[in-house]
Symmetry: C2
Subunit: 139 residues, 2 copies
Amino acid sequence: MDTIGHHYIVEAAGCDPKVIGDADKIREIFLEAAKRGNMEVKASYFFKFSPMGVSGVVIVAESHISVHTWPEKGYAALDVYTCGEKADPEKAVDYILEQFKAQYAHVSEIKRGIEEDDETFTHTILTWEEKLDRRNGKL
Amino acid sequence: MDTIGHHYIVEAAGCDPKVIGDADKIREIFLEAAKRGNMEVKASYFFKFSPMGVSGVVIVAESHISVHTWPEKGYAALDVYTCGEKADPEKAVDYILEQFKAQYAHVSEIKRGIEEDDETFTHTILTWEEKLDRRNGKL
């Protein structure tokens, strides 16, 4: 089985506190994101902190989506990691950022499980920033 | 609540296929790793693929540990992500690599949730490689 994985590590800022503080809403968004990213959901778990903040994980076949949120800061730490050629993790990331109403994202795309000649494995990292201007309907 | 998180992204190579192919064993290792890393376990989920390979996630207060394994390659893609000052994610990583009998690790430590002046958040990345020579008892 192919070891190559695509792992998106996202710091999402300017998110809607109502959305990222609501565990049920995040579950709904994640399940839809998995569907749009062509992933098969195996299990999900969401946990609400007191007084605020949510941790959530969806286990998808050979991968996972996770989030930890700070609604009081409009901040969410999002991960989408998928293996195999079938899944489209970028679609899931875009959908989640759109639903969180994120205004800004700092993203690293990590290509994982790159096999080397000496039977070791490495990863490569590509980092960028996105300003998500939603006023004009973009993204 | 502090947004700063420490996220270790590890490509572990030369692992013992028996260990990383055994979902129950990985669960046991992860629960002990969480304890050693001073984390509070909220939930865990492990899934065994056919014919081999395991996906596992432990949700810890404000963080998670996850792994996806390819026993036939001796390879495991490990993540340990913790927030707050109390947890010691490095101890958890070291314990897991030791138990997996990994010979080699390519690691990126990502410091997440760094707040900037303009209410955005960023992350920094530090990458290194470790050769884990266990013949003389060194980790």
